[in-house]
C-alpha cells in the first residue's frame, strides 16, 4: 500500500486538500492513503493556527529553515531506537528531510526523539540532555513507552516522558514502523511551518 501511495503522490493525482503550500506539494501525511477524504483534524487545526497567527514572511522563512534542517539527538534507548536507526538507512531515508545529521551532543541538536522506555534511573539524564539543548527545541515521544509507559505500567518505568519534558509529537506503535515515525516527523514540520510554537512555550517546562 505504501508503494501505491508514493506513486500516486509522484503522479500528483491526489486531490488538493487545501490551498496551503504544503498541501500543494503533496505533503498530506495520512491522507496519502485515503485520497477521497478531506483534510484531517491535524491539518485543519494547523490551518486554523496558521490563520490566527498570521506569520510574517520573515517568520515563515525562519520556520521553513528550522523545519528543513532539524538535527535529531541520538537518544535511542530501546527497541524504538532500532527502528529509528532504520529511518536513517537507505530505504526510509531521513536525509530527504535534512535530518541525517544525528548529533550526539545535545548542544548541537534541535530535536530530541525519545525512542524507548524511560526508567526512573534514566529520567535525570534525559532531563539533563533536554536542558542542554538550545532553543528552539522539539521533542518527539516515539513509541508507546515514551508516550505513556507502554505495556510497562510498573515501579520502574516513567509513565510517559511528557512528565519531565514537554512533548510536541507522540508517535504510537510498539515499535512504530519507520513510516510512522516519518509521519510524525513530517507532522512536526507542518506544525512548525504553520507557526505552532514548540511545546515548551505552550505547555511550560516543569522545573
Amino acid at each position: 500500500m505504501a508503494k501505491g501511495g508514493t506513486e500516486l503522490a509522484v503522479r500528483k493525482q491526489l486531490p488538493v486538500v487545501s490551498g496551503r503550500p504544503l498541501a500543494k506539494a503533496g505533503l498530506q501525511s495520512e491522507r496519502v492513503l485515503w485520497p477521497d477524504r478531506g483534510p484531517g483534524v491535524f491539518e485543519r487545526e494547523v490551518e486554523e493556527i496558521e490563520d490566527a497567527l498570521l506569520l510574517t514572511t520573515v517568520e515563515k522563512a525562519v520556520a521553513w529553515a528550522q523545519s528543513n534542517s532539524m538535527w535529531p539527538d541520538t537518544f535511542g534507548l530501546a527497541c524504538c531506537a532500532i527502528e529509528m536507526m532504520s529511518i536513517v538507512s537507505s530505504r526510509y531515508d531521513i536525509a530527504r528531510f535534512g535530518m541525517e545529521r544525528f548529533s550526539s551532543s545535545p548542544r548541537q541538536a534541535d530535536l530530541l526523539i525519545v525512542s524507548g522506555r524511560v526508567t526512573h534511573k534514566m529520567a535525570p539524564p534525559l532531563r539533563q540532555v533536554y536542558d542542554q539543548m538550545l532553543e528552539p527545541k522539539w521533542v518527539i515521544a516515539m513509541g508507546a513507552c515514551a508516550s505513556s509507559g507502554g505495556m510497562f505500567n510498573n515501579y520502574t518505568i516513567l509513565q510517559g516522558v511528557d512528565k519531565i519534558v514537554p512533548v510536541d509529537i507522540h508517535v504510537p506503535g510498539c515499535p512504530p514502523r519507520p513510516e510512522a515515525l516519518m509521519e510524525g516527523i513530517v507532522r512536526l514540520h507542518e506544525k512548525i511551518r504553520g507557526g505552532v510554537p514548540p511545546a515548551y512555550e505552550i505547555r511550560g517546562v516543569a522545573e
Binding site: 541520538t74 537518544f75 535511542g76 534507548l77 530501546a78 527497541c79 531506537a81 532500532i82 527502528e83 536507526m85 532504520s86 536513517v88 538507512s89 537507505s90 530505504r91 550526539s104 524507548g116 522506555r117 526508567t119 534511573k121 534514566m122 539524564p125 534525559l126 540532555v129 505495556m151 510497562f152 510498573n154 515501579y155 520502574t156 518505568i157 510498539c174 515499535p175 514502523r177
Partner: protein, 422 residues
C-alpha cells in the same frame, strides 16, 4: 564437538581482584595525580544503548573502568508474573530487542517444557528458520553499528539495507517488522504465507554476496585491521570463568555452541559449521560474526527445503486445553467453544515445576528459569541475559587500551541494554 585446548592468548588471568567487574587504578603503573575520571554517560554516541562506563584515564590510556547498568531496567520479570501465560509471551521479545525472536522462542520453549506439549514439525522448522534469520539480523545490526563507531560509516547503510530485507520476511510471516510474537505455545501463531519460501530463497541468494561485500570492505582495510587486531584480549580460561558465551567465547578458542552441543528445536538435523577462532581479540569476534552469518544462511536454506516438503501440515499443536481451536469449529462444536472461552478468559494452566531452558541466541547463551505453581500465571520468570554476562568482562578486556580501543572492545561485547537490564 571438542573444546580446543586452551590457547595462550595471555598468561595467567587478567580478571581484576577483588571485584571481577571493577578495574582499579594500579598505583604502580599510573600516577594517581594524572588520573582523570570520565563518565561515558548513559546517553552517548555509541549505539549500544544506555550503558554507563566510568573510566579512569591516564592520558589516553584506560587505567580503571567500572560499568554501571540499570538505566533500562524495565521490570519484565515482575510484569510477567502478573499476566497470564498467553499475555506474558508479548513481553519476552522486548527484552533483547535486536534478536527478538530468540527471546520469544526461549520463553515459549520453557513453557512447552513444563507443559510437556509436542510441537508439530512444521512449527519447529519454521521457528528454526526464523531464529536463524534473526541471527543474521542481529549480526547485521552489530556489524553496522560497530563499524559506524569505528569510522566505517558506509557499512551502516549496507547492513541496514540487508536488514530491511530480513524484516520484510518477518513482516510477511508475522505481520510486523519487529517483535512479531509469531511464536505461540504449541507451535507458531499462523501458517507461513504461500510465497514465503520463495522470497526467503531470494534473500538467501543475495545474502552471501552481501557478506562477501562487507568482508571486501573491511578485511583488508588497514585501519580496520589496526583498530581491531590485538585489541580487547580475552583468554579462554578467563572467558569461561566470566561465563562468556556465543561469539565472545568462540573467539577465544573454545568450541562451544548450544545448537550443536545441546541441540534444541531440530538443530541436530541440519548441517552447519561452528566458526571458532583463537585470537581472542575484536578481529576474531568480527570474523566469528561474519562466518556465523554465512552458516545461518546455510541453515535457513535447509529449513526452507524441509518446509516445502511439509507444506499443508499443521503448524500448531492439537491440544485444545492450551491452543485455541480453529475459528470455524466454534460454530459447530460446543467443546471448542468452551475451550476457546476458558483459554481466552482465564488462560491455560501450566503444571507446577521449575525448568531452565537455554538457547544459543546471537549474543550467547540466553536462558530462562521458569517456575510455575500450576496456575494461569507464571510464578517466577528469570531470564539469563547473555549481555549481562558479557558486560562483566568489560574490566578484563580493556586493560591497557586507549580510549579509541575501548570503543572497539565495548562494541565487540555486543551488549544490548534491554537484555542486560531486563
Amino acid at each position: 564437538m571438542s573444546v580446543l585446548p586452551s590457547t595462550r592468548i595471555y598468561e595467567g588471568t587478567r580478571i581484576p581482584q577483588p571485584v571481577p567487574t571493577i578495574l582499579e587504578v594500579d598505583p604502580e603503573k599510573h600516577r594517581l595525580e594524572d588520573i582523570l575520571r570520565v563518565n561515558f554517560g548513559p546517553n552517548h554516541p555509541s549505539t549500544h544503548g544506555v550503558l554507563r562506563l566510568v573510566v579512569d584515564l591516564d592520558g589516553e590510556t584506560v587505567a580503571g573502568i567500572r560499568a554501571v547498568i540499570g538505566y533500562l531496567h524495565t521490570g519484565f520479570e515482575k510484569n510477567m508474573e502478573h499476566k497470564s501465560w498467553w499475555k506474558s509471551v508479548t513481553y519476552a521479545p522486548r527484552i533483547d530487542y535486536v534478536s527478538f525472536h530468540a527471546n520469544e522462542l526461549l520463553y515459549v520453549l520453557a513453557i512447552e517444557k513444563l507443559l510437556g506439549i509436542e510441537v508439530p514439525r512444521r512449527a519447529t522448522w519454521t521457528r528454526m528458520a526464523m531464529a536463524e534469520l534473526n541471527r543474521i539480523h542481529s549480526h547485521l545490526v552489530w556489524l553496522g553499528t560497530s563499524a559506524l563507531e569505528l569510522g566505517a560509516i558506509s557499512l551502516f547503510w549496507y547492513c541496514f539495507d540487508d536488514r530491511d530485507q530480513i524484516l520484510d520476511l518477518f513482516e510477511m510471516a508475522g505481520g510486523t517488522r519487529m517483535h512479531t510474537r509469531y511464536v505461540q505455545v504449541g507451535g507458531i501463531a499462523e501458517d507461513l504465507p504461500p510465497d514465503f519460501t520463495s522470497e526467503a530463497r531470494k534473500f538467501c541468494e543475495s545474502m552471501p554476496k552481501s557478506v562477501d561485500e562487507y568482508e571486501a570492505i573491511l578485511d583488508r582495510n588497514a585501519i580496520w585491521l589496526e583498530r581491531t587486531q590485538g585489541v580487547g584480549l580475552l583468554s579462554s580460561d578467563d572467558a569461561l570463568a566470566l561465563a562468556q558465551s556465543g561469539p565472545m567465547l568462540r573467539s577465544t578458542g573454545v568450541d562451544w555452541d548450544l545448537r550443536r552441543d545441546m541441540p534444541y528445536l531440530a538443530y541436530d538435523e541440519v548441517e552447519f559449521d561452528v566458526p571458532v577462532y583463537c585470537g581472542g581479540d575484536v578481529y576474531d569476534r568480527y570474523r566469528v560474526h561474519m562466518d556465523e552469518m554465512r552458516e545461518s544462511v546455510r541453515i535457513v536454506r535447509q529449513c526452507l527445503d524441509r518446509l516445502d516438503e511439509m507444506d499443508g501440515e499443521p503448524w500448531i499443536a492439537d491440544d485444545r486445553k492450551v491452543v485455541l481451536p480453529p475459528r470455524h469449529e466454534l460454530h459447530t462444536s460446543m467443546e471448542s467453544l468452551i475451550h476457546h472461552f476458558k483459554i481466552v478468559t482465564e488462560g491455560f494452566r501450566v503444571p507446577a515445576g521449575e525448568v531452565y531452558v537455554a538457547i544459543e541466541s546471537p549474543r550467547g547463551e540466553n536462558g530462562c528459569y521458569l517456575v510455575s505453581d500450576g496456575g494461569a500465571r507464571p510464578w517466577r520468570v528469570k531470564f539469563r541475559a547473555p549481555s549481562f554476562a558479557a558486560l562483566q568482562a568489560t574490566a578484563t578486556i580493556v586493560q591497557g587500551l586507549l580510549i579509541a580501543d575501548l570503543i572497539a572492545a565495548g562494541g565487540s561485547l555486543d551488549p544490548v541494554m534491554g537484555d542486560a537490564d531486563r
